[in-house]
Amino acid sequence: MIRVVLPFHLRTLARVDGEVQLEAGSPVTLGSVLDALEARYPVLRGTIRDHVTLRRRPFVRFFASKEDLSFEPPETKLPDAVATGDEPFLIVGAMAGG
């Protein structure tokens, strides 16, 4: 079971509190987690990655086990600690600056 932490606005949109728990197949990859998340919450389609290209939206970041995976391809395996649910996968709204 994968634990996913969504940013505030996406939690509101998906109408969830706290973490989301998902089955994301095996191996657990960046892409499989996002696929599972969007299948469970269709309202999130297009908010994290583009509908058509599936490219990450510019101001969204993916963190796992203190690593920034934002620039990694979708087939990237997530760290074991995230794949086993010991640590969460973080989807983060990038800092706006200012």
């Binding site: 949109l13 299948a39 469970r40 269709p42 309202v43 297009g46 908010t47 509908h51 939206r57």
Partner: protein
């Protein structure tokens, strides 16, 4: 007694203001979608409790929200969880994809640049079908839904109207105005910032620029160009759909032949720069604008917030000031932030970038702030309810 519902989109959420027909006491409900930019909300003319809203974010993109109870509760059409695990979601309510080859438009450096969807500026529900809505996009294009917002399709004929020559201004290349002709279902007018006004007479298949008479000597190398004029807003009275009024970047204009030609009617305005323009609900020659000092100084001249009213269809204007701040006022009123109700004594409403929404229940003679200190107001629409 009739009721009035004012739909306010702001930089940080949506607000719904309601009052009875006297329009003296107001209830403020919101924020809805707190923290999101709410570009526009508008109700269906045939099912007023059906309201569509454009919710957008620089981080998370575009959402379309829909209410069927007058804004009490909202849903993303088709975005509900799938009933069966593993079943693909059906709804694509925020999927705005340009049809066919994406194509290019003129870019700031003069090169050609591909269209890129950014957000929906304006939603215009059909005059006859609550499930049909038109949506104006940035980068400029017109989309439509016929299933209540679950799916959207582009009407690509518009971008064939010299789209390769359109060039974004500083505010983005947005399609911000959509006017549906109540006497002719096949006729639609739209306006695009820094591209101009366009009209279809075949339900959106083909479009032509309708900018003859517009002059932009300080913005375009050819002041009379067919496209490229920075139209800020167009308004019509539904009883006379062939008569259009326009607030251009500079100049207030009118057309008496459905946009085929335009004449300037700025007359004695203190500045003919501004954003919104609207028409009285019952007097088709009574129009309203909010003059702004200049394109470089987006605030009212002399720090005085004044609506100007013409009862002669332009040229002769009077300042409406009673109840509006007449010193130290430096707010702006954006293009989609003015509306009128259709009560017997016509109500006029506008919102400011300072977060006030002002209302007049007497055609503009006197004004009151019906709410203050909201986030910057992006849009104001009014529903007159039985």
């Amino acid at each position: 007694m009739s009721k009035v519902r004012v739909l306010v989109g702001t930089k940080k959420g949506a607000f719904i203001l309601t009052s009875d027909g006297k329009r003296q006491n107001w209830e403020v409900n919101g924020p809805h979608f707190a923290g999101w930019e709410m570009y526009h909300l508008k109700g269906s003319p045939v099912a007023p409790n059906r309201i569509y809203a454009s919710q957008t974010s620089g981080w998370f993109g575009q959402m379309i929200q829909r209410s069927d109870d007058g804004g009490k509760t909202w849903e993303t059409p088709g975005g509900e969880p799938t009933p069966t695990p593993g079943e693909l979601p059906k709804g694509e309510s925020n999927k705005f994809v340009y049809k066919g080859e994406v194509g290019t438009h003129k870019w700031y450096d003069g090169t050609q640049h591909p269209w890129e969807f950014k957000r929906i500026w304006h939603l215009e529900p059909s005059l006859t079908d609550p499930n049909t809505v038109f949506a104006g996009a940035e980068d400029a294009a017109l989309f439509t839904t016929t299933d209540g917002g679950k799916t959207w399709q582009e009407l690509p004929g518009l971008r064939r109207a010299k789209g390769h020559l359109w060039q974004p201004g500083a505010g983005g290349m947005c399609l911000h105005t959509i006017l549906l002709d109540p006497s002719n279902a096949n006729r639609i007018f739209i306006a695009i910032s820094a591209a101009g006004a366009f009209r279809t007479d075949d339900g959106g298949k083909t479009w032509k620029p309708v900018n003859q008479g517009l002059k932009s000597p300080y913005e375009l190398p050819d002041p009379d160009a067919e496209v490229g004029h920075c139209v800020h807003r167009i308004a019509m009275n539904p009883s006379r759909p062939g008569v259009l009024f326009m607030q251009k970047h500079w100049d207030v204009m009118r057309s008496d032949n459905a946009g085929d030609s335009w004449q300037e009617v700025s007359g004695n305005l203190p500045s003919d720069f501004g954003f919104p323009i609207d028409v009285h609900a019952h007097e088709p020659e009574t129009i309203y604008v909010v003059p702004i000092k200049s394109d470089s100084e987006h605030f009212p001249p002399d720090g005085k917030l004044r609506v100007y009213r013409s009862r002669t269809g332009g040229n002769e204007w009077e300042a409406l000031t009673k109840g509006l701040p007449q010193k130290d006022c430096y707010v702006n009123v954006l293009r989609d932030a003015m509306a009128v109700d259709s009560l017997e004594s016509c109500g006029v409403y506008f919102g400011t970038t300072g977060g006030q929404v002002y209302a007049s229940a007497d055609s503009g003679d006197t004004w009151n702030a019906i709410v203050r200190d909201l986030p910057a107001v992006l849009s104001v629409e009014v529903q007159t309810l039985p």
